[in-house]
Amino acid sequence: MTLNDLKTGQTGTVQSIGEKGPMRKRLMDMGVTPGTTIKVIKVAPLGDPIEVNIRGYELSLRKDEAKNIKIEI
């Protein structure tokens, strides 16, 4: 499953992050690396993007980006 499938309030562990490229590099620089715990905090009022908690801080990313992050509960 992907980060997109998590419901608000659910927690998962990052397995892998999409394909090579600037997008993935950026996510990894921000601390989204395999094995990290990630929690969905909320969805923006218009339905996208989403807000997650990772390594103790809040990060927002679009659903398109969340789709590439594989998660295990």
């Binding site: 992050i17 090579k20 600037p22 997008m23 993935r24 590099k25 950026r26 996510l27 990894m28 620089d29 921000m30 601390g31 690396t33 395999p34 094995g35 990290t36 909320k42 969805v43 923006a44 009022p45 218009l46 339905g47 996208d48 993007p49 807000e51 390594r55 103790g56 801080y57 809040e58 990060l59 927002s60 990313l61 679009r62 980006e65």
Partner: protein, 741 residues
């Protein structure tokens, strides 16, 4: 000793606050060559020999944004005497990621752990000795906003600069990656003889480059020579095999693993998460149902505080922005009349140069300063308190569709008030692309000064009924055009897919007055100095063109004019000649005559000038006879309200009052009858309004654009896009309009 110390750190780590605390209000804001990123420098207020440089806030030293490239190039190539790496103590894991990368450059570093007050409040305990020992560099706790710990921090920074303390070589990578880094290092250094004097620095640089090559860094890899490439490709291929085919990911992973281990040994966090004030505020501000209404209210308050003349619906209550602008204009008026008395007896052209050129030109700059100040202080408040990131979060879904980020909303909204502060607000956007596109789009917005044009044309041409609808349609037009231009620029100029939206949502914090004040002051200074020059010079040029002609310099004017002035009337001036030459260009838009053309040009001084200029040029319409007849219909009270002293009709004041109090408000339906010989149809009139709406904004806004876009090339390109857009849109309006009506 003269030292240069650079501040590096994540966005929202309090870097700017620390910079302000260390340097005081005396700072120099310049720019990094070729990019729209501020470069701030200052001297340490307790020791003038220490230079402090504020690097852009970054999360990493990867080459994926202008900010990151600037920060790393500066550290690696300019090698400051020391780097102070500021770290947000409440969010230490992610912040230390940058620390590791700075340490890799083998430069003297001090880590400043900021927000220690919040750290203590939330029950986190940090073992600074352990951190310091692990990195081999000083780690100092500070509270930047309260100025705590800063003396110790600076002592430590000077000490590492004195001793040239190089951080420990950290054991971050596994043996496979280390082997690859060493092998690449061998290749990089085999080409030249390391001279003894430079040995330390050059080796550090090459070792850093070796890490970056293994990390697949586009820029460093691109600098390799053709001799080096084959060997290095082989090394990287070998390394990939042991890193699950992905060295880049492995390296990021290993860095974070190192940090996680270190943090688990040296930072104690409370077991249960305490809900902070920030969490509670956020629950309301980005609540599913409340977020958008709250957002609308905050935006309304922001707009009203800057531009409103009836603040919070109180009749006649001026916003701080408008009130201050009024004060500035009144003060400038006094200075103007003082100067008037001084130059009253000089020749007419000197008088006109001083009063209509210089005083008017400087007045244009001064009138904008309060708006820039108030709006920018409000923006820094939103930025510093953390709400700006939430605006992007809430609005992203809409703006992404047009290839922009939610943050573009603020400059565009402010564009409805005035393009000058709106353009300067683009600096808060995240990427250079967003900043450039938004700067172009703010010029399309129907700012306050464009309203008189609409008012006059709507009342003159669209007499029957639909006035509100026509004005409303122009507002809609500006928004639709902005969307289309943004989409086109994204598609054809930037060729980009929608930019990414991986963004930190920082904690809410109460901003300090000092930092808001410094921000506002910086913006005003930048505007007055950089934009001011452009506004001033262009105003003088248009003044000269509209007041002189060839006969000014051969004695003909002097002989013909009663007062022996060498000046010419506007309809015989150079500007009129230019208007005649350029006018055919506007034929396809329906207003290809010299007088409307000159109107467009004087509109660049200030958009409302279009109305005044047209009234001046159509002097068959607006002559003394007409004015006397027109005002004879008004009662004494009405005349007084319009601006006649004591309600008595005054020939000398009549023209100005007619232009500014009557035409600006659309108060004369018979205005400029002969103008209809030049602009014949409603379609042409609408095209003329659209052209003035969309073409290059006033010089004040161009000055602000130049300040934000940095180069004349980019500014010229932006103006080119605006002109082309205005032309194409007006062309379509006139031609399609002529077919239908």
């Amino acid at each position: 000793m003269n030292y240069t110390i650079a501040l590096a750190g994540n966005p929202n780590s309090g870097k700017t606050t620390l910079f302000n605390e260390l340097t005081g209000a005396k700072q120099h804001v310049g720019n990094w060559p070729g990019v729209t990123v501020d470069k701030k420098e200052g001297t340490y207020k307790k020791n003038k020999e220490i230079n402090i440089l504020d690097l852009p806030g970054t999360y990493s030293l990867s080459p994926y944004s202008a900010e990151e490239v600037i920060a790393r190039d500066y550290i690696v190539k300019n090698r400051p005497d020391a780097v102070i790496n500021i770290v947000d103590g409440t969010n230490i894991e992610r912040n230390l990621y940058l620390t590791l990368q700075i340490i890799e450059t083998s430069i003297p570093v001090v880590v400043a752990v900021n927000m220690m007050d919040e750290v203590e409040d939330s029950g986190i305990v940090i073992n600074f000795e352990k951190l310091s020992e692990a990195f081999g560099i000083p780690v100092i706790p500070i509270v930047a906003r309260k100025g705590k710990g800063l003396d110790k921090l600076m002592e430590a920074a000077v000490r590492v600069a004195d001793d040239k303390t190089v951080p420990k070589e950290l054991k971050i990578f596994d043996s496979n990656i280390n082997t690859a880094i060493d092998a690449v290092y061998e290749v990089l250094t085999s080409d030249y003889n390391v001279s003894k004097r430079d040995a330390v620095e050059k080796d550090a640089l090459n070792y850093w480059k070796a890490i970056k090559v293994v990390e697949n860094d586009d820029i460093v890899t691109g600098e390799l020579t053709n001799n080096q490439k084959p060997e290095i490709i082989a090394i990287l291929g070998e390394a990939e095999k042991y890193a699950d085919g992905d060295t880049e990911a492995k390296i990021a992973d290993l860095r974070y693993k190192f940090i996680t281990n270190l943090v688990s040994e040296s930072v104690k966090k409370p077991k249960t998460h305490i809900e902070t004030g920030s969490d509670k505020i956020d629950k309301i501000l980005t609540n599913r149902f409340l977020a958008i209404p709250i957002f609308a209210i905050i935006m309304y308050i922001m707009f009203a505080l800057t531009f409103s003349e009836n603040l919070f619906f109180v009749e006649g209550l001026l916003s701080p922005g408008i009130w201050l602008a009024g004060v500035a204009e009144t003060l400038w008026g006094y200075i103007g009349s003082g100067v008037d008395a001084l130059v009253a007896n000089t020749s007419p052209w000197v008088y006109s140069l001083v009063m209509d050129g210089i005083i008017e030109g400087l007045g244009a700059i001064i009138g904008f300063i309060p708006l820039v100040l108030v709006l920018y202080m409000l923006i820094s408040f939103l930025e510093d308190c953390g709400y700006m990131a939430r605006i992007a979060f809430v609005m992203d879904r809409i703006f992404r569709k047009f290839g922009l980020s939610g943050r573009s909303f603020i400059p565009l909204l402010m564009g409805f008030g005035c393009s000058v502060p709106a353009t300067m607000a683009t600096r808060t956007l995240d990427t250079e692309k967003d900043r450039t596109i938004t700067t172009i789009l703010t010029g399309f917005m129907p700012c306050g000064a464009k309203l008189p044009i609409f008012a006059m044309f709507v009342s003159t041409f669209f007499v029957d009924g639909s006035k509100t609808l026509i004005t409303y349609s122009l507002y809609m037009l500006s928004i639709v055009v902005a969307i289309i231009v943004s989409l086109l620029l994204n598609k054809f100029v930037y060729k980009s897919k929608a930019s990414n939206f991986v963004m930190e949502l920082p904690k809410y914090r109460v901003p300090t007055l000092k930092s808001i004040g410094i921000h506002g002051w910086e913006k005003v200074k930048g505007f007055a100095v950089k934009a001011g020059t452009i506004i001033f010079i262009s105003t003088i040029i248009i003044w000269a063109l509209s007041n002189f002609n060839a006969n000014s310099f051969n004695g003909v004017n002097a002989a013909n004019n009663e007062d022996e002035s060498i000046m010419a009337e506007m309809d015989e001036s150079f500007l009129a000649s230019v208007g005649n030459v350029v006018a055919p260009v506007f034929k396809p838009l329906g207003f290809g005559e010299w007088r409307p053309t000159v109107g467009v040009v004087t509109g660049w001084i200030a958009k409302e000038m279009v109305v005044v200029t047209l009234a001046q040029l159509y002097d068959e319409d607006v002559n003394l006879e007409y004015l006397e007849e027109f005002f004879s219909a008004y009662s004494e009270e009405e005349l007084e309200e319009l601006g006649f002293e004591d309600g008595v009709y005054d020939e000398e004041a009549a023209f100005d009052i007619y232009a500014e109090a009557v035409l600006w408000e659309g108060g004369d339906e018979n205005a400029l009858r002969t103008m209809k010989n030049d602009i014949k149809t409603d379609a042409a009139a609408y095209a003329y309004m659209a052209f003035n709406l969309l073409c290059m904004p006033c010089f004040a806004a161009v000055g602000a654009m130049k300040r934000e876009l940095k180069t004349w090339k980019m500014t010229g390109a932006a103006i080119g896009v605006q002109m082309l857009t205005a032309y194409v849109v007006s062309f379509i309006i006139y031609n399609v309009g002529s077919l239908i009506f």
